[in-house]
Amino acid sequence: MHEGSIPIVNAMSDPAAAVPVLEVSGLRTRFGPLRAVDGVSFAVAPGETLCIVGESGSGKSTVALSIMGLIPPAAGRVEAGSIHLAGHGELRGLADAAMAAIRGRAMGMIFQEPMTSLNPVFKVGTQIAEVVRRHQGMSRAAAHDRAVELLRLVGVPSPQMRALDYPHQLSGGMRQRVMIAMAIACDPMLILADEPTTALDVTIQAQILALIEELKQRLGSGIVFITHDLRVVAQIAQTVCVMYAGVVVESATTRALLRTPLHPYTSGLMASIPAAQPRGTRRRLPVIAGTVPNLAKLPGGCRFRSRCPKAFDLCAEVEPPLAPPAKGDPDRLVRCWLHADGVAA
């Protein structure tokens, strides 16, 4: 996009070696009886993009909301685990006011549905300016100018004019850019993006992915990027966590995961991606049959068992641990008995 214009502050060649921006371990969040996130751990280095992929309802957004301290207290709570943000220490248990100060300033969030996160009765420029004013104490006029500049930065055409629009006057892609402008308004060290490109078409998606990548390079931020599109993962992620029914079932570097998926759920996902096929014939996509189990009454054993084409006796009895595969790369993790030491052939 605008090569040369970006001072690259983060020139680290090996993000994994750096001190993580964010470290989540043993995170458990429940909504009443429903264990939405049931023991999730991962770390994100500065300049690293970690993608979380997985079925709808697997707990991806809950992970993001737990990190941001945005689980509505009336609905649920973070029960266990630790959330460590570099420079700010443990976030779990911080008072609301302290959390609100960190949110928006140190962490930016781009939500799944811009329409539900933008206020319909305020102009988009005003909403962006408000974030700037709240966290950086700028004057109203300076904040408005900054809002216009941010809109330009995220590629909104005629930003002066668009700043005066209400959210419903913008198309989906434009609203998502407004969300991104708000998320990056204070140069956050961590960006949590929850399906930011899901509703967009490819050139805009490519631009927004490039934009996020550019902002990441410029700010040296770590990014947690939630998506259900493995092609997007292939484009942007260094590492991937695959979630299913509240737990991580596989994690690896992007290349390893896409080249040789180990978990049957990951393989199923890869297979169901549409690709060109000969015409005329009864074309069908391979599917993962069935649906996600009810998280409030999970059966024992492997959570994927009811949909797994490879399930065997042990799978019904004991839940497999997330562990390095018996054979192969010790740096990756998989939660499946097929890959456990000394269990299957």
Partner: protein
């Protein structure tokens, strides 16, 4: 062969008001002279940038949004001459599936009532309705026992199945699908895509299929219409479009379409420049500010939609050069 749906020079313009006095600031030409045909039993995909007017076009085809100009023929009828009552009857045969299965189903109605709505509107008996609902729910892979449930008791994929069942009530011939799987999981997308293809084969349906997933379009559609800023810029059968796209915007779309191969990350394929505002579209060819091949004439005059190969129409002054030299395949887009 006469097309099932024949759209000619269709336009939808929105007045835009701004400022404290709500003065008219201009007109958004959301759809600006679109012509396309959908033939029986085929899937025509409509692709294009966010805000280029796909949903507006889809809504205008069903007259859920009144067109500003143009002609609409469906099953031989001139839709724009129909009064409300006759239009309601025509809508039995042309239905819509929406992108967001959360927003498009009334949360206070049970699945049976949602699917059965069309039967009520068109004055069917209770018995016909219940039988129809049971049949439709079964057709989309749910069961009659789901009729008593409310939308929130279903998963996203199941809700989209209900949206499809609703659209199939009373045997439509055309179903307009506005991004029907974009909001769904990959595994559920595959289930719904298979369902749509199976229903098409069994019921002889035609689809106008709006999508931003070019890989999915390649899988599901017979022909593609590419839209840019309210106009069609290229129409072609799937094979020609993917093998030899002739419009620079189509080439950019294909180049920007992400690959599943992590070693093929796109570096310089993002079309440069800003998406033009539909409030003040560029002169001449609307793509010229982003087009790496623009020549002087492109700024001055809008190119016409020309047929360059059988079934392959392109709106570009220079497409003829590329149609004549098909080996010139990989065109670098951007800087």
């Amino acid at each position: 062969m006469t097309p099932l749906l024949d759209v000619a020079d269709l336009a939808v313009h929105f007045p835009v008001f701004r400022g404290p006095l709500r003065r008219k600031a201009g007109t958004v030409r959301a759809v600006d002279g679109v012509s396309l045909q959908v033939f029986r039993g085929e899937t025509l995909a409509l692709v294009g940038e966010s805000g280029c007017g796909k949903s507006t076009l889809a809504r205008a085809v069903l007259r859920l949004q009144e067109p500003s100009a143009g002609q609409l023929r469906f099953e031989g009828q001139d839709l724009l001459r129909l009064d409300r009552r006759a239009m309601k009857a025509a809508r039995r045969r042309m239905r819509m599936v929406f992108q967001d299965p959360h927003a498009s189903l009334n949360p206070r109605l049970r699945a049976g009532e949602i699917v059965g709505e069309a039967f009520d509107i068109h004055g069917c008996t209770r018995r016909e309705r219940d039988a129809g609902v049971a049949e439709l729910l079964t057709l989309v892979g749910l069961g009659p026992e789901h009729a008593a449930r409310f939308p929130h008791e279903f998963s996203g994929g199941q809700r989209q199945r209900i949206g499809i069942a609703r659209a199939l009530a009373l045997h439509p011939s055309l179903v307009v699908c506005d991004e029907p799987v974009s909001a769904l999981d990959v595994s559920v997308q595959a289930q719904i895509v298979n369902l749509l293809m199976e229903l098409q084969e069994r019921l002889g349906l035609s689809y106008l299929f709006i999508s931003h997933d070019l890989h999915l379009v390649e899988f599901i559609a017979d022909r593609v219409a590419v839209m840019y800023l309210g106009r069609i810029v290229e129409t072609a059968p799937i094979q020609s479009l993917y093998a030899a796209p002739l419009h620079p915007y189509t080439q950019a779309l294909l180049a920007a379409s992400p690959s599943i191969d992590p070693d093929r990350r796109h570096q310089h394929v993002v079309p440069d420049g800003e998406v033009p505002s539909p409030l003040s579209p560029p002169s001449g060819c609307a793509f010229h500010p982003r087009c790496p091949f623009a020549i002087a004439n492109c700024r001055a005059e809008m190119p016409p939609l020309l047929t360059l190969a059988p079934g392959h129409d392109v709106r570009c002054w220079r497409a003829g050069e590329w149609a004549a030299a098909p080996q010139r395949a990989a065109i670098p887009v951007g800087s």
